[in-house]
């Protein structure tokens, strides 16, 4: 009985130790990948990118520096200065999200339990990101009648082939739409309406995609915001991984998937499957974006 208790005590201790080691390792992996993220997607400025590359190399070469808040605050300072000088009004949203994530990596290292702090930060940053995205889609009003997504289908030349095949719109009419918009943008402004060709099937697609986007992003926001039981928490991971592998593959917004996956990985439960699944998603996302859009980093389809 005693031996049994001792054995189970040892097993428990070993399991606890293994769990702690795994947990610490994941925090390190998140920080290492975030250092790469900062260097690759933090800024478009070649000079500053060189500085961030050097900082990334330093962080990757020393675990002591990687887990010190100061290099991260330096990186966030560089990104913040670049955004400020370029103007917060102009810089792409994903650059601001990368800045916020790098800052979170640094600030949470001041916490007594930095891994847990980064997990909480990651969770609420994702809740904020998806909550704000849903807010603007509702506030803008262009999703209610399916107009935004219908326009995206009709206007983007990349989607022309899909439009003809699945939307039932003749290729000549697809081109007539492009020409009409080009004419509107090159002629003096008259406020006159011009006809845009569509089909009932494209209307339906516009409605489905619009409401699907609002519903999907709203659900992701709620999952990250709501306090979930341990059993339901993987729903957060499924939602973010699903979003990255579907919406962000179809409409890649350059460099957004990487920080979303980092924040997702940081907040995910301590399970053996988590790290390979998140890292695998990063690889699969990059491959899919390359195969579909011809660019490994993805291109902003609208901006």
């Amino acid at each position: 009985m005693t031996m049994r208790a001792e054995a189970s005590g040892l097993t428990l201790a070993a399991a606890t130790h293994a769990h702690a080691a795994t947990a610490g390792e994941r925090h390190i992996v998140v920080l290492q990948l975030s250092a790469v993220l900062m260097a690759v997607w933090g800024t478009d400025h070649p000079g500053l990118q060189g500085v961030l590359m050097a900082l990334c190399a330093v962080l990757l070469s020393s675990r002591r520096l990687l887990t010190s808040p100061w290099p991260w605050l330096l990186g966030a300072g560089v990104l913040g200065a670049w955004i400020s000088v370029n103007s917060w009004s102009i810089v792409s949203q994903h650059k601001i999200f990368v800045f916020e994530w790098v800052l979170a990596c640094g600030v949470t290292l001041f916490a007594p339990d930095p891994e847990r702090a980064l997990a909480v930060s990651g969770r609420f940053l994702l809740a904020g990101l998806f909550g704000l995205a849903t807010f603007w889609k509702l506030a803008g009003g262009e999703y209610f009648d399916g107009g935004f997504m219908e326009w995206l289908l009709l206007w983007r030349e990349e989607l022309g082939g899909i439009l003809s095949r699945f939307g039932g719109l003749d290729a000549a009419l697809v081109k007539a739409n492009y020409d009409a918009v080009a004419q509107l943008r090159s002629a003096p402004i008259t406020n006159d309406w011009v006809a845009i060709h569509a089909t009932p099937r494209i209307d339906l697609w516009g409605d489905l995609l619009s409401w699907g986007t609002i519903l999907g992003e709203g659900v992701v926001a709620l999952l990250f915001l709501a306090p979930l039981s341990e059993r339901l928490r993987p729903a957060r991971d499924l939602s973010i991984l699903g979003f990255v592998l579907t919406v962000d593959v179809a409409f890649p917004y350059t460099g957004f998937a990487f920080p979303m996956l980092m924040a997702g990985l940081a907040q995910a439960p301590q399970r053996a499957w988590v790290r390979p699944v998140y890292l695998g998603t990063l690889v699969v996302h990059t491959l899919l974006v390359f195969l579909i859009h011809g660019h490994p980093l993805g291109r902003s389809i609208l901006y």
């Binding site: 478009d44 000079g47 670049w82 000088v85 370029n86 103007s87 917060w88 009004s89 102009i90 810089v91 792409s92 949203q93 999200f97 916020e100 800052l103 979170a104 600030v107 949470t108 290292l109 001041f110 916490a111 007594p112 930095p114 702090a117 909480v120 930060s121 940053l125 809740a127 904020g128 990101l129 704000l132 995205a133 603007w136 889609k137 506030a139 803008g140 262009e142 009648d145 107009g147 935004f148 326009w151 206007w155 918009v181 080009a182 509107l184 943008r185 090159s186 003096p188 402004i189 008259t190 406020n191 309406w193 011009v194 845009i196 060709h197 516009g206 986007t213 917004y253 609208l302 901006y303």
Partner: protein, 169 residues
């Protein structure tokens, strides 16, 4: 009041909300486009920089029109300003563009700006535009920043003016 743990883990999400709140206010009170400014309003409106365009009409001293051109009249050195003006067409940016078109000295950027601003402005920013010149040297230019609106119910689109600004030589 708050533990160090709480402060460290909530500081940046709180900062995100502050940035987003100021963006929401600025979109309502200025010409800032909801796609920019840190409020994560991307994909919320078709009114994006790809659809926005600039028309520049020149006038002679007597006020006669010398023709209307697109973005090809904007000198290369102020292309970053054109790109910025598409997202945030405030008076200062349109003034700089107008002065550049008139060949007047443009207010120099700060040293820090010259070092750090590489801009997202690419030559592709001039898409949908043909080379265009005015009939004579203009004394005054009127800049109109336009965008395109889509009526999904009636399947029609139109260009509309977002803002306008005049610059005198």
């Amino acid at each position: 009041m708050f533990s160090r743990q709480t402060l460290a883990q909530l500081a940046v999400p709180a900062l995100m909300l502050v940035i987003a709140a100021q963006q929401i206010v600025r979109v309502q009170t200025s010409l800032l486009n909801s796609n920019r400014g840190g409020g994560f309003g991307m994909f919320s409106t078709i009114d994006s920089s790809h659809l926005r365009f600039l028309r520049v009409e020149g006038f002679d001293a007597a006020g006669r029109s010398l023709g209307s051109c697109g973005e090809s009249v904007i000198p290369d050195e102020v292309l970053p300003v054109l790109h910025q003006a598409r997202w945030m067409p405030d008076e200062a940016r349109l003034e700089r563009l107008g002065r550049a078109v008139l060949g007047l000295p443009v207010e120099p950027s700060t040293r820090l700006e010259r070092v750090l601003v590489n801009s997202d402005a690419k030559p592709a920013a001039r898409s949908f535009d043909r080379a265009c010149t005015f009939a004579a040297r203009p004394e005054r230019v009127r800049l109109e920043l336009g965008s395109v609106e889509f009526d999904a119910v009636n399947h029609r689109a139109r260009a509309y003016r977002v803002t306008a600004h005049e610059v005198q030589r």
